[in-house]
């Protein structure tokens, strides 16, 4: 049997969900037997490949690059998983929505900077006016809330998905957990 093509991406988030993924410890080995990691911040692929079976998305959609990326990923992915509160709800990154992107940029790059304060315009993707959960931009197949979801939750999720079904993980995950 060929291996399941798995990808993970890190958008507007803190990487805590990826840490939690690594927290599966020895269970990673068991998972690794069944999957091929085709794209991830944890491996060295530069291009998001075609025909991915499962993509775990960490993080909210915060800038224009995130938005373009997730649209491309959606096209190339069979099962798209929103992993963790940022991807599921917008979470902490979305807290800037109540004051707007401009206010945040000014606070960070102008008000609190003494040396040559300026808002970066080149080589940094422009912020969207509104940070939003992944589902506001593309269709999401599975939601795993949690900040971060525990290693047990992610393990249960992957075991289920790899066996070909969407597991019920409602007892293992909740917003903020």
């Amino acid at each position: 049997m060929s291996k399941v093509r798995l990808a993970t991406v890190w958008l507007d988030g803190c990487s805590g969900c990826h840490m939690s993924l690594l927290d599966m410890d020895e269970r990673l080995v068991e998972i690794a037997d069944k999957v091929e990691i085709v794209y991830s911040p944890l491996v060295d692929n530069k291009e998001f490949p075609q025909e991915v079976d499962i993509t775990l998305v960490e993080g909210a959609i915060g800038n224009v690059e995130d938005e373009e990326k997730i649209k491309m990923i959606r096209q190339r992915t069979k099962t798209l998983v929103s992993l963790g509160d940022c991807a599921v709800t917008g979470n902490v990154p979305s807290m800037r929505n109540t004051c707007g992107a401009k206010a945040v940029l000014e606070r960070v790059y102008l008000e609190n900077v003494t040396l040559q304060p300026q808002i970066p315009s080149e080589s940094v993707p422009a912020l969207r006016s509104r940070v939003c959960p992944v589902r506001e931009v593309v269709k999401v197949d599975v939601f795993v809330p949690g900040c971060p979801p525990s290693a047990d939750t992610i393990h249960a999720l992957l075991v289920g998905l790899l066996s070909g079904s969407v597991p019920d993980i409602s007892l293992l995950s909740r917003f903020g957990a």
Binding site: V88, N91, R130, C132, P133, F143, V144, S170, G176, A177
Partner: protein, 240 residues
């Protein structure tokens, strides 16, 4: 105690034969029989308002839905508390509540001890379908011991009721209407400046979310003690 003998009604809840006194609600009788109906605005001991709509139930023979917290039992009534339709409505109502505030559980002192959060889990909500509205709301930490965070307020008015009905201070009320409705203390002034607040903390303990909390707590450290209310209510009834 009232002298007139209470009349007892027999009815069915989820196909179980149960009985209740005529002044009891469907919710009262369901809970006596360990039938779970979700609620948010309802607190035994405070006047019922029927505003969260989570406890809506079906009654056979009627196309309408009935709030279990205010609907009195009737003879021969057949109540359905669980159906696909009810589950879908309850989910949507909770999702609306999440979309209408800034409920960032991850950085909430009530994380893990929140009625809104645990209801979402119990009803199987893993994501909010409606776009978040991100209202611009304030946090008031002017009170010596407590904080009110409007971002996390679901406007259930438990605080308003316990303050007016039990403490008797009526420091809290609601201002405005619709989506601009907020809880206020006195003349919409800083809580710390309130001239009527007795700092009893009843509102804080009854608040279902992290909107009213004690100062000095960090994320997930705030747990609330709600036992005082049944105690006060039963003591008062005994004195009467």
């Amino acid at each position: 105690m009232s002298t007139a003998p209470a009349r007892v009604k027999t009815l069915k809840i989820d196909d179980r034969d149960v009985s209740g006194r005529e002044e009891e609600t469907i919710l009262d009788v369901a809970r006596q029989n360990r039938i779970n109906i979700p609620t948010l605005c309802h607190v035994p001991g405070l006047s019922p308002v029927g505003s969260c709509r989570l406890c809506l139930v079906e009654i056979k023979g009627s196309p309408k839905l009935f709030p279990a917290c205010v609907t009195l039992v009737r003879e021969g009534m057949e109540v359905v508390t669980k159906s696909e339709r009810l589950a879908s409505y309850r989910k949507m109502i909770l999702e609306l509540l999440f979309s209408d505030g800034n409920h960032i559980c991850a950085v909430c002192v009530s994380n893990g001890n929140c009625e809104l959060q645990s209801l979402a889990q119990n009803l199987g909500i893993d994501s909010i379908r409606f776009p978040y509205r991100f209202p611009k709301l304030t946090v008031d930490a002017s009170h010596q011991r407590f904080v009110v965070d409007h971002n996390r307020c679901i406007l259930c008015a438990r605080c308003v009721r316990v303050c007016g009905e039990v403490e008797g201070a009526h420091t809290w009320d609601l201002m405005g209407r619709g989506t601009s409705m907020r809880i206020i203390s006195d003349m919409n002034e800083a809580w710390g400046d309130s001239e009527t607040c007795t700092s009893c903390g009843k509102c804080v303990q009854l608040c279902p979310t992290g909107a009213l909390v004690e100062k000095g707590k960090s994320v997930a450290e705030m747990s609330k003690k709600k036992g005082f209310l049944p105690y006060i209510v039963s003591m008062r009834e005994g004195r009467r």
